[in-house]
Point group: C2
């Protein structure tokens, strides 16, 4: 199992940002974190997450959640009932990350229009 970092360590330790972005930069991760963050203390069930993430497949949601859980950003609680219920929530670590993600989100909402405007324009002031 080639661990995510197990690859050739070009200069990984020098740039943990890359490692982090590799995780939160994946297609669904940021959304899961966002949804869990919005839930506050509330835990969210697998099916509900899936319901609120149109377009996600079980595989990806499952995979994303497993990654986040393994990274200690998300906590998983299983109710050993007959139809098993699995609840997810952000760990304190995940919450601390969410703060920065929120900052990024804010930046995005503020400046995305600029970016969109710039696209195909590239006209800087020399």
């Amino acid at each position: 199992m080639t661990s995510p970092t197990g690859r050739g360590d070009l200069f990984s330790p020098a740039c943990p940002t890359r490692l982090l972005l590799d995780r939160i930069g994946t297609k669904w991760t940021s959304m899961v974190v966002k949804l869990l963050a919005e839930a506050g203390d509330g835990e969210v069930r697998f099916a509900e997450l899936q319901r609120r993430m149109p377009g996600v497949s079980q595989k990806m949601l499952s995979s994303t959640l497993r990654s986040l859980t393994n990274d200690g950003l998300v906590a998983r609680r299983v109710e050993p009932t007959v139809p098993p219920k699995v609840h997810y929530r952000l760990t304190p670590l995940g919450q601390s990350l969410e703060v920065h993600l929120a900052g990024l989100r804010d930046w995005a909402e503020t400046h995305m229009a600029e970016i969109d405007r710039a696209r195909g324009y590239a006209g800087e002031t020399t």
Copy 2:
């Protein structure tokens, strides 16, 4: 063309964070931004960037820079000399993003150890 991905716009406008992360989450983007940020006002030449990014190919560096330029995050200055010299620098927009990236970087450096510790552990307090 609909969007950079050309794919179906599931709920893009609802989550600009995703769009942003799609950009800065790519393999080399964050590093380019970081290097340009470290250069301060200093512009950095293509070759120097490549030199300071072991493992990157011209293609990817070029592609990354073009994306960033198109997004208005990076400015490109060309000296029309015989051996053309192209200088890149962060735009104010790019710099404003770098602030948040720095925050993320800081978080990563602070908590990456925790994440690393958690990996393969998954032992939350239930």
